[in-house]
Amino acid sequence: MNFYGHVMAHLRKDLRLEWRSRDSITGMLFFSLLVVVVFSFAFDPTAAVSRQIAGGILWMVLLFASTQTLNQAWNREQRNNVLDAQRMAPSSAAALFLGKSLANMIFVTAVELVLAPLFTVFYNLHALGQGWLLLVVMPLGTWALVANGTFFAALGLRTRNRELMLPLVLFPISIPALLAMMQATTGILTGESEPDLWIRVLVVYDVVFTTACLLLFETLLNAE
């Protein structure tokens, strides 16, 4: 089996696990819905104001929701010492990382697909800029969160306080990506500024950090 085959095997396994338990997606969905409601108390969700801040809130919701799920992402591998088996397997560690990240990407995207109409309804939104650009910004931003999040969640395997550990490292590292996705989304929703620059920042961020994650995952997995 080649690298692609290994990635697909890992991806299939994670999707099957999720399909049978449906832990991550249901948990994330309900959590996001709650945060959307809670945020509506923090400010008046009328159209004029909400357009300015909805982009930021959308990404905050997704950030919190995906952090919750990513914390659990490696738990499945720890049961019955599966992770030790993964370490000994002849397949590359990068394939394991990529498979897991793609699976998480699919979960978070599923949540986004449900969340987008809810956002539109609750915050009375419609994009004043080029709405189709959201189809570019959303996957790029989600990948930035999910790739780094999957990586740092694995880093948390070796720490005492894993639930605290992930946001502690993930948030500061993700700041450029968060800034870019929030600015791009706000630009598209308000139509006041061009999102091009921020989309480019996101692309650079994704390329740089995905490469770093792929190169360093072997070291992280075998760290003793």
């Binding site: 502690l168 590292i173 800034l179 620059l197 920042v201 961020y205 070291t219």
Partner: protein
Amino acid sequence: MQSAVQSKRSGLILGAVWLALTLVVLVIGFREAIFISPTDAQQGDVGRIFYWHVPSAMLGLVFPYVNFIASIAFLYYSRRDPIAALKADAWAISAAEVSVVFATICLATGMLWGKAVWGIWWTWDWRLTSELLLWLLYVAYLMTRRLSTTGQTSTVGAIISVFAALDVPLVYFSIRWFRTQHPSPVFGGDADSGLDASMYPAFLWNVLAWLMWGVFILAFRIALEQRRQRQEQLEGLRSLEGDMPNFNLGGEPERGNAF
């Protein structure tokens, strides 16, 4: 054994001389900045905080590089040469702590100056924001190392350091673009625009003084960390010997020869 004692003693002497020199230069820098350098025409005496603020800002950007290089060295040596890896790790954690110290001084003096000159403690200007993020990244690094279970913290720390190093330029540019698109009205005169020639001696003496001080605490912290590592290994060895009661039945315990 003889040479180890000698090198330890010469290290102590070098450290003491370095510390004495550092104190002398710190005093010169203080005298230059407070008594000799002319008062700033626009800001008054408050402007003198510049002589501590800018050197700390500069050094707060230098020591993260030491941390980054040491982390790369650790990752390189971790499978090849355990002794060199331990040394690199001691450098990495010490440099991270010194970075946090300088970044903290930079932020604190900057806020004091900002309150006096701008009338506010803080503004989300790109320079302030990037410095704060640098501080956050290295505090996150130190906290991760604190939260990790013993023995595995070095690799995790080194990996975070590499990520932080990749992150800093991106943070710097993205926040700069962000804030130049929305210029903050509070940001009026630049502190370092038009530094008069008469102010240079005070500035340069302080840069030198704080650099020497930074190098001193870095070396001190590295020595401390290496002592801690030796202690930890010795304890590991002892507990290993304790687990095997029959191991040393034949003769003297071999603890002393571990290093």
